[in-house]
Amino acid sequence: METQHIEVDILVVGGGTAGPLAAIKAKQKAPHLRVLLLDKANVKRAGAIAEGMDSVNNAVIPGYATPEQYVKEITIANDGIVNQASINAYATRSFDMIKELDGWGVKFEKDETGDYAVKKVHHLGSYVLPMPEGYNVKKVLFKQIRKVGVEVSNRLTTTRLLVGEDGRIAGAMALESRTGDFVVIRAKAVVLCTGAAGRLGLPSSGYLFGTYENPTNAGDGYSMAYHAGAELSGLECFQINPLIKDYNGPACAYVTGPFGGYTVNAKGERFIRSDYWSGQMMLEFWRELEGGNGPVFLKLDHLADETVTKIEDVLHVTERPTRGIFHEGRGVDYRHDLVEMHISEIGLCGGHSASGVWVDENARTTVPGLYAAGDLCNVAHNYMLGAMVFGKIAGEDAVDFIEGKEHALVDQEQIENERERIFAPLAREDGISPTQIEYKLRRMVNDYLQPPKVTAKMEIGLKRFAEIRADLDHMKARNPHELMRAMEVHAILDCAELAAKASLYRTESRWGLYHYRTDFEGRNDAEWFNFVEIRKGADGQPELFKRPVPPYIYPIDKSELYGYDAMRIESEELAA
């Protein structure tokens, strides 16, 4: 085990979706700079879109939608708690990004005239652009990474950021998960693109890696940003998804909806107006399951054979292509069988809900020189295309930030402390395996944090998490691979504690099931129409505070703001 020292201008952590764009755009803007893109896996197949993507969920394409419509839709979808400037920064760049990706070779669905074939899935507007041949996205991005000369380093699990003596970002430290090398990277700016905290709750299958998110996304970025002093936002706004039961992947209603598929209860009745993923929709889904009307299914058996074949040609080749193998194993055929759905375990994700590292419209966190983009940042409902746009914004802004700056000075103690923390589990003679600690931790997350949120449960949860924190001093790893898992357990525990504390702090209910508190039913706009923020206080403990919602660019009438509440289809309508 050696120590490697690397010095670059801009470091991008995470080679999935936002990261490649951050690195490409920084390098395009300033070809003379050293830009390093690293990943704990392999950039070629890293991140949530390792096997591509089946649709753009939030395309803002002229003729179908305007930035104003989109910003309003997401404001309403997220119960008003958004920074419209950030959503607008995405919306105004959305179409240009689609055109650029199209030029690079990403295939989007077009109609016979060559226009993009946008579909309606959201409650109000039309933003879904199918990608039936979207399996090659990563290969297209990798070609660009090579073309512009971004440096790439794989199998590096970043564990902590380096903060300079002047409070500026100074780089990061990482574990090489095959050789066990300790890697110290000095950089003038760092862009964190480490994805969601997708290994937070335990899937009901009990399988640790049976997650919706790519399980490499263990919440490392949330933990690193927090320990570097950055502000985290909306950690009480959980990610909970309607997924194929047991398989725990998307069904996927965004793909099937435009073809005529929809969600039904055990009686075969529709109960939600829109299959677009929102907390309000998830609340109705949960009520249906808990109220004796479950199971809930995705219904496709009424569709024509050739339509089902088209759906299979998307769902079984891209994003999560093992969907086909899973259905085959159980003898499920969309033509005559319903697909049983369930509610996922919790996670933290900016891209699907709104829980992430706080960034402004320039992707800047509250630590100078530190950026966040993609599922890790708190730009609500930003999805794949938003990750790419915010990656671009971050990469380009980082080039301006470092202009005329030297590397920040770092005290050696920071580095020595981290080396000690990382390698402690390897040095121990014996102890508890990372897998066992992770299993117990994530089971406790399910027991105490899965909504509906109950104050007494979350308080017990925090006690259990504190006990598990003490257990970390007895964690044993036998090789660098297990050491990577051990470091991930540290990050998962940070996410669990911060999510519990943020949830306890917001004493109201909001975002449907995402923050449904039985002790505090209903929204309380007078006190809680703001962001809940969390950062590491001077005493080393989490510090919670409110951040006001910035004035809207596109004002929304109070009568429209909670439009997503009207998600349930009432029985009179069904009768009519």
Binding site: K44, A50, G210, N214, P215, G329
Partner: protein, 78 residues
């Protein structure tokens, strides 16, 4: 190190060793796996699944130049 890893239990990533060209130095499946669970067993020269951490995502199968890999859904999910 020339240890041979015994695989007593069925794993969900199945390598057809007749098709696999690991003996020619190919390590593509090991390289592309997001969770880094495939290893080259220096003892018998075979590619094996070393950790029960499969996301059943398929890059190993799709990127294999000889199509030697079959991925099954992990038993707990089937």
């Amino acid at each position: 190190m020339s240890t041979t890893i015994e695989q007593d239990f069925k794993v969900s990533i199945i390598v057809d060793h007749d098709k696999c060209i690991a003996d020619k130095g190919c390590r593509i499946c090991i390289d592309v796996c997001p969770t880094d669970i495939l290893i080259h067993d220096a003892g018998d020269g075979k590619i094996k699944m070393a950790y029960d951490e499969c996301w059943y995502c398929l890059p190993c199968a799709h990127d294999c130049p000889t199509k030697a890999i079959k991925v099954e859904i992990p038993y707990l999910l089937r």
